[in-house]
Amino acid sequence: MIKTTAQKIYVGLIFLFLYAPILTLMMLSFNASRTRAKWGGFSLKWYADLFRNREIMQALWNTLLIAFIASFVAVVIGTVACIAINRMGRRSRAVMMGITNIPMLDAEIVTGISLMLLFISFGLKFGLGTILLSHITFCIPYVVLSVMPRIRQVDASVYEAALDLGAPPLKAFFKVVFPDILPGVLSGYLMAFTISLDDFIITHFTKGAGVDTLSTKIYTEVKKGIKPEMYALSTIIFVTVLLLLFLVNKAPKEKRGKIQTVKTG
């Protein structure tokens, strides 16, 4: 009993540590004062101002657009790559996985500057396009790593049976293999989306004039003091995601209580 209480306190403290800054930011979004340094009373005005702030809205649009496209393209390339890798021999598979791992293990700053050097040397104009190319690049590994384990579980003979029965390869794939790997594809997509959404360092090196994502916008604002509208926007995004998480988790909860096993570690 004491042990579980201690465990609960420990988990509670860690979550306090993880979520304290988020609570702080939410508080700041209700701060009537323009500067973060003073509490000027409770106010909702930043929420109203937010929708009139063209720059922030544009940055939000860019951020979501980039995250959508980048994670989608990454899912396509990554999933196809997984199918290919799965059919390879041990050695080539190891090489492919090694390549996949480079951007995961490499420092973001190195990935960022290497892409910057590439774009400059090839004379590409910095803008939405260069950001997209970079984001797709660092999203692919997340897709591969979440699809790969699923695809290895797929029974190849089912696919071959479908082919034998005369199904064209593409149809056979979508009818037989795809439903099995779908969970992996989706979690890869979500992971890629989140990582793209939160990226600052690589975007910092590959962005062009007037194309800001929320991250780079915040970075320029850090210096003069973050505009409170930004806190309001972050609060809205966070609360939306949090609410959805709870809604989706609420339904199956009762079922789960029954299979819950109490173990002590």
Binding site: A37, K38, R54, A59, L186, L190, G210, T220, K224, T240
Partner: protein, 353 residues
């Protein structure tokens, strides 16, 4: 895993329309790409410009001259209008990165900007061919009356151990060295190895006393009583005093930097005509006034100054100091590539110490 799917889809569905309002289309008369200091104009003036001219403004911001320069030099991003400081304009001119302005397209510039500012600009733009002054000011000490003893009138206070951990220094090479050089009575454009060595050593000695090296964050920190003394641009002084009346701005007796930030157009500007229209618009008295009220940096636009309603601001010794009262005022000059390198190396020594 279905949960994850639904969350991803739902959040996307909910957030997308929110951002939809931010999507703007390109202007009917093309665009102009402006690269300016962070929060250095009233965003409303950009909207007004777009509505009046049908030119879309692509707006980007930088924190220091040193960050701006490589971006312009590599040309990976095309910019039309920049707003660098004096010495950086000289560097841009020296490296043939600026276009000569056609003042026929910028009638408001000559009409409204005071003659002394054109005069001052000849230090870095000898024939006034490349630049139109936008803001000017001094660098000084901002201090919190309740946290310091007596009056402050010297850079030396930044080396006073009494204020350990209460000092905010500028986090940019030239500004930091300016303070240290001036304190020793040297020129802030010094390239003398011995003088710079002394200045560097002083900065290293000062480091344990410094709470943080900041650029614009000095504003928030001083308002929040986080520090007693900070090195700050005069333009921030009015804003910070408004938010926290305990703050006082002073120009140290050893002299300081008088700077001008001016609009310039890049050599390979894709929209030169629009860029000139933009600069002209910024020189209009009502627009210059709007910007002054928003950013509180001193405007060289005499016509705009006339329009300021509050007497104490129009005649504020902080915003519009009588420069003849101070001695040893200087303006930064570009010192050449080798000196740049030397400054950078010395600064890195300070920062890594």
């Amino acid at each position: 895993m279905k949960k994850i799917l639904s969350i991803a889809c739902l959040s996307a569905a909910l957030l997308l329309p929110l951002s939809g309002c931010g999507n703007t289309s390109s202007g009917e008369n093309g665009e102009v790409i402006v690269y300016n200091w962070g929060e250095y104009l009233d965003p409303e003036t950009l909207q007004m410009f777009e509505e009046e001219t049908g030119i879309r403004v692509v707006y980007d911001e930088y924190e220091t001259n040193e960050i701006m320069y490589p971006k312009v030099e590599t040309g990976a991003t095309e910019y039309d209008v920049l707003c660098p400081s004096d010495y950086m304009i000289q560097k841009l001119i020296d490296n043939d990165l600026l276009a000569e302005l056609n003042f026929d397209n910028i009638p408001n510039a000559k009409a409204n900007i005071g003659s002394q500012y054109w005069e001052q600009s000849t230090e870095f733009d000898p024939e006034n061919k490349y630049s139109v002054p936008y803001c000017w000011g001094t660098v000084g000490i901002l201090y919190n009356k309740t946290m310091v003893d007596g009056t402050i009138d010297s850079w030396s206070v930044l080396w006073d151990e009494k204020y350990a951990d209460n000092i905010l220094m500028q986090d940019s090479v030239r500004d930091a060295f300016m303070v240290s050089l001036k304190r020793n009575g040297y020129s802030m454009n010094s390239t003398d190895a011995g003088e710079l060595e002394t200045a560097k050593q002083d900065l290293i000695d000062q480091k344990p006393l410094v709470q943080a090296y900041v650029v614009d964050q000095v504003r928030d920190k001083m308002i929040g009583n986080e520090a007693a003394i900070g090195v700050i641009y005069s333009g921030e002084a009015i804003y910070t005093q408004r938010e926290n009346p305990d703050l006082e701005y002073v120009i140290p007796k050893e002299g300081t930097n008088v700077w001008i930030d001016s609009w310039v157009i890049t050599k390979n500007a894709p929209n030169k005509e629009n860029a000139e229209k933009f600069i002209d618009f910024m020189c209009r008295p009502d627009i210059a006034l709007k910007n002054f009220e928003y950013i509180t940096y001193s405007t060289p636009n005499d016509a705009a100054r006339e329009l300021i309603e509050e007497d104490d601001i129009r005649n504020s010794p902080i915003a519009f100091p009588e420069l003849s009262q101070y001695s040893n005022l200087e303006t930064f000059r570009y010192l050449g590539e080798d000196a740049d390198q030397l400054y950078n190396d010395l600064w890195k020594e300070v920062k890594s110490n």
